[in-house]
């Protein structure tokens, strides 16, 4: 969402600018926070204020008794920046815990954490395109959740790459609207996230 930021290495001076040589990576962070007014603004404000990227964001209350919400953020940056993001988040008063799910997955020998995204995809059209859209949706296991004689709305759930592929395929078949939830993610294995 934000412009990519050249992380301050090199000179640290506006008079001599040196580009960062570290490669940016994309990580998924899970943040457990008190569900109180303004907490999302605090988290987002931290990202914009310090020039961190947000590629995807989802939030919902996950524990009604404890009033805890879980925020899943997909962010990108160098490992140094990603480590800073985690530490800066942990410093906030309403934040209970932060996990870098991508890093955790790698440490445990997996490529990625479990990631899912849901999208609703509206495709309008008649004739051959309409039939083709339906057939492809079947192949992707994307059920129809709304339809008329002139459109279908599909629901698709899966990894980000699958959702994106589905949307790309629907493009020439009369894609008119897409709504995506953003990534939800948990670690693999039996351990849960501590608050």
């Amino acid at each position: 969402m934000n412009a990519k930021k050249a992380h301050q290495t090199g000179t640290g001076s506006a008079y001599f600018i040196v580009e960062d040589t570290q490669k940016p990576r994309t990580h998924v962070l899970a943040i457990l926070v008190d569900n109180q007014p303004g907490v999302l603004a605090r988290v987002i404000g931290l990202f914009s204020g310090r020039g961190y990227n947000i590629e995807s964001l989802t939030v919902s209350e996950t524990s009604h008794d404890k009033h805890l919400s879980r925020i899943t953020v997909v962010s990108s940056g160098t490992l140094t920046v990603l480590d800073q993001i985690k530490k800066q988040l942990e410093r906030m008063v309403p934040v209970h815990s932060v996990i870098d799910l991508t890093l955790t997955a790698e440490i445990n020998g997996y490529e990625k954490p479990l990631e899912r995204e849901l999208a609703m995809v509206k495709v309008a059209g008649k004739g051959e395109n309409r039939v083709e859209a339906m057939r492809l949706a079947d192949a992707f296991r994307a059920p129809v959740i709304d339809a008329s004689t002139e459109h279908f709305t599909f629901e698709i759930t899966g990894r980000v790459s699958k959702v994106e592929q589905f949307i790309a395929i629907m493009e020439p078949l009369g894609l008119v609207e897409v709504c995506r939830t953003g990534v939800a993610a948990v670690t693999r294995g039996k351990d849960g996230m501590q608050d």
Partner: protein
């Protein structure tokens, strides 16, 4: 603890402040805080100090906090009251000063309606406070106030803000004292990992060219941390330098003292940073004014970094041995382990390092050309120091050349004696901060070393100083320029002095008199001592107009984006050298 539990929100505010040990609050009344002011009027445990501008209240609270180690409090109204307090809040955030700001807010039903004097205070101050709260009901008010004190002081200290709508101030509820408040989960780690501390001590013991680099975190940790720091230096025999905000933790008269480091630090401190093999960073944060060019920063050293804030570690510079914890706690362990450690650095090796350092010291990087006709600003600070060093003195500053000269030429022997705006660099900080210090220490000699441009930013607080008989001394190094801006323009912008000259300065002597204070002017070096002594003698706020050489530059200096070993020294800084300090490529990037 109060026996009366049923009270209004406004009463709760006063009660909670008292219960949390507050006896002084700086503030400025307005519509949205009238109920609280009404309560303040009807009691005598909490003293209110009226300032002339909310920014003044904030900096006064900072001065109060820095010089006492307690929370500094301010009370301001909604809208403009709150927005005026933003600068001191950010200042306190950058320098980790514990201040509590209470703001009034329009009544709850009017929030969001663009009501008179409404501002989204919590939204505006979110990034410039450690945490802030909008109080929605009177029931949660006492809890939030007690939590605010905890967040303010615990871990890395910082500013907090509690925004209280006027209807909540009027509403009646049950007051809960601090010890009965709802559980609150906020406990930053204070003790360092023993294993990491052990590794650090081993590394220090094996060092050939060690250096201690301490910072404001030592001041924040309390007087005990400074004692331990001195003990560690004594035990190890290591050289020590400090950041701007850490001055005084190790005495300037101490044998191992190298002077301040960084952009205007001494030659010996910066070269020692560059050449050391083990750096022990204690409560400092590798700020860009300290490191200079990051990729050329202390290339050959292993870095031990002690900090209470995990996000400070590895932010700008990679730490080889990170230790998360309170400086005082960690130093205690470190000193104990050092005493018990068998292997100590070889004295001969350490001696060699000191010989090298002494060679750099011999460069006398703080020297300047004295003058018989005009007062050199460096000379002014030197004399001020000589004439006030044996008194109970507190120094504050504004921001600019005078601030750096004060840091270079005034010797600080104790922590909490030096109040300056380091991180944010707030011009206008010094006068109200001095006022806050004087309120906390009525019998002390409190001096604001100021510049002619900075001091005008908050000069109105002279009026407050006069009202409370706070005999602060405002010592202006008057060169008619925004000296540091002019210096940068000379160094980096082809000496095009764009708007850095003040053509119409007030007559500072008459200005002092107009406020009901005392004005003193001095223009000759041989009259300076007498004039300073006169200033010290006066038992009233003084503005001292010290006319100094107009075009003096502050050296040594590491130009922006250069490394520690590329310093500009005073004797090399001819006009020609100064003009070519930044190459053409650098100039284009402005």
């Amino acid at each position: 603890m109060s026996k009366k539990r049923e009270m209004t929100g406004a009463e709760m505010v006063v009660q909670a402040l008292i219960d949390n040990g507050v006896d002084t609050i700086f503030g400025y009344p307005g519509g949205a805080v009238l109920p609280i002011y009404d309560e303040i009027f009807q009691q005598d445990k909490l003293r209110h100090i009226l300032v002339r501008h909310e920014q003044g209240a904030g900096h006064a609270a900072e001065g109060y906090a820095r010089s006492t180690g307690k929370v500094g409090c301010l009370l301001v109204t909604s809208g403009p009251g709150a927005t005026n307090a933003v600068t001191p809040l950010q200042d306190a955030l950058m320098d980790s000063v514990p201040i509590l700001c209470i703001t009034g807010q329009v009544p709850t039903p009017l929030i969001g309606s663009d009501a008179f004097q409404e501002a989204d205070t919590v939204g505006i101050t979110r990034p410039c406070t450690k945490h802030n709260w909008l109080v929605r009901t009177v029931e949660e008010l006492p809890h939030i106030l007690h939590e605010a004190f905890q967040v303010c002081l615990k871990g890395r200290p910082g500013p907090v803000l509690v925004d209280i709508p006027k209807d909540v101030q009027f509403a009646t509820g049950t007051y809960i004292p601090p010890n009965e408040a709802r559980p609150f989960r906020y406990s930053p780690r204070v003790s360092g990992d023993p294993e990491q501390i052990r590794v650090a001590v081993e590394l220090m013991a094996s060092a050939k060219k060690p250096l201690i680099y301490s910072g404001g975190g030592v001041v924040n940790s309390g007087p005990e941390a400074s004692k331990l720091l001195r003990e560690l230096v004594e035990l190890t025999g290591f050289p020590i330098t400090s950041t701007l905000t850490g001055l005084g933790c190790y005495p300037a008269s101490g044998e191992n003292w190298l002077g301040m480091l960084g952009m205007h630090g001494t030659y010996e401190a910066n070269l020692a940073m560059h050449d050391c093999d083990v750096m022990v960073c204690i409560g400092a944060r590798f700020d860009d004014r300290i490191t200079g060019r990051i990729d050329a920063f202390s290339p050959g050293s292993k870095k031990i970094h002690i900090d209470i804030d995990p996000s400070s570690i590895g932010k700008n510079v990679r730490a080889d041995v990170p230790i998360i914890g309170d400086v005082g706690n960690v130093l205690e362990d470190m000193v104990r382990l050092w005493r018990a450690h068998d292997e100590k650095p070889d004295p001969a090796t350490l001696k060699k390092w000191w010989v090298e350092i002494d060679k750099w010291r011999g460069r006398r990087s703080l020297s300047y050309k004295p003058s018989k006709n005009v007062i050199m600003p460096q000379y002014a600070i030197e004399r001020l120091y000589e004439l006030t060093k044996n008194k109970n003195t507190y120094i504050t500053t504004e921001v600019g050349q005078h601030q750096m000269w004060a840091a270079q030429f005034y010797g600080f022997e104790e922590p909490n004696r030096w109040m300056t705006s380091g991180g944010l660099g707030t011009m206008g900080y010094g006068l109200p901060a001095a006022f806050g210090v004087q309120i906390a220490h009525p019998d002390a000699l409190v001096i604001d070393i100021a510049g002619d441009a900075s001091v005008l930013m908050t000069i109105q607080e002279m009026s407050a100083a006069v009202q409370y008989n706070a005999p602060i001394k405002i010592f202006i190094l008057n060169n008619q320029y925004m000296g540091m801006v002019r210096q940068w323009q000379q160094l980096l912008h082809g000496n095009r002095l764009s708007h850095s000259y003040t053509e119409a300065l007030p007559d500072f002597v008459k200005l002092a008199e107009a406020y009901g204070g005392v004005g003193i002017r001095c223009e000759k070096p041989d009259e300076l001592d007498d004039a300073i002594n006169d200033m010290i003698e006066v038992d009233a706020p003084v503005i001292f107009d010290c006319r100094v050489a107009n075009l003096a530059n502050c050296f040594p200096m590491i130009p922006s984006g250069k490394a520690h070993n590329e310093m500009l020294l005073p004797d090399e800084a001819t006009d020609e050298a100064v003009g070519s300090v930044i190459d053409e490529k650098g100039k284009q990037l402005v």
